[in-house]
Subunit: 128 residues, 2 copies
Amino acid sequence: MARAATTTDVFNAVAEPRRRQILDLLAAAGPCAVGAIVIALGLPQPAVSKHLGVLREVGLVSVEKHGQSRVYQLNAKEIQAVHEWTRTFERFWTHKLDRIKHRAEARARAQGHPFAIAAAAARKDRAS
Amino acid sequence: MARAATTTDVFNAVAEPRRRQILDLLAAAGPCAVGAIVIALGLPQPAVSKHLGVLREVGLVSVEKHGQSRVYQLNAKEIQAVHEWTRTFERFWTHKLDRIKHRAEARARAQGHPFAIAAAAARKDRAS
DNA sequence: TTGACATATGCCCATATCGGCATATACTCA
DNA sequence: TGAGTATATGCCGATATGGGCATATGTCAA
């Protein structure tokens, strides 16, 4: 198997910097026609179209025909999944003390191999 | 150019589901030896080692030799970048009214091409 | 209808991927 | 020293990528 397609996941779609740029732009400027994005980001038009295609397929943007131009609109709700996942780790950078405590506990657990805990976590991960 | 290397970015590293599983596991169970991860996730050992290699190179985990096993520890601080980026879009799913308002404003702006706004946003994006 | 404009697509290339398998490296203990 | 365990690494194949370029599609305007 090769790498997962960029259209499989919001995570994969968002891994490309230029795609993130496009999303940032749409968030800042509101719905944009392709041409506007091309000019704003200084990218060749086919590239923009292709990136928009990926974003569209993943549901991160939606299109609306307006005459001969197509206006792309951000659908940021899809980013929420990524946000939620990262939020899981929030405690690791917000409370320094907590982090130290966690490390200590974890180190203690690591002495005996934490198979049970690990397996439980894995089950939880697979469920998500 | 092909797709960016998975070791370029936290975004790219995290695009792989199994890598996310490993991170989830380390967050839940604390530092783990490779063998523990192998058993917990049911993946072949070389695969786990390679994924850990990617995570290591991006700084998402750190290693510590302990006898003949290597204990990997989560360094979640690196995930904060992703968290911050997604947080930029938070307003789009938290307040429904805000979202509607934004759309309306944006639509209005879209009538005349929002080049100036777009360009400004692009500059801001490139800076980040 | 013809021409100009706005987007999308198709094709080619070089590249990096992930998985599987075999094997090298590193450490421990008898 | 030699066997056994724990990880890492190298090589292979199949695949999807992203950029560039040319071109097809679709739409408006005169």
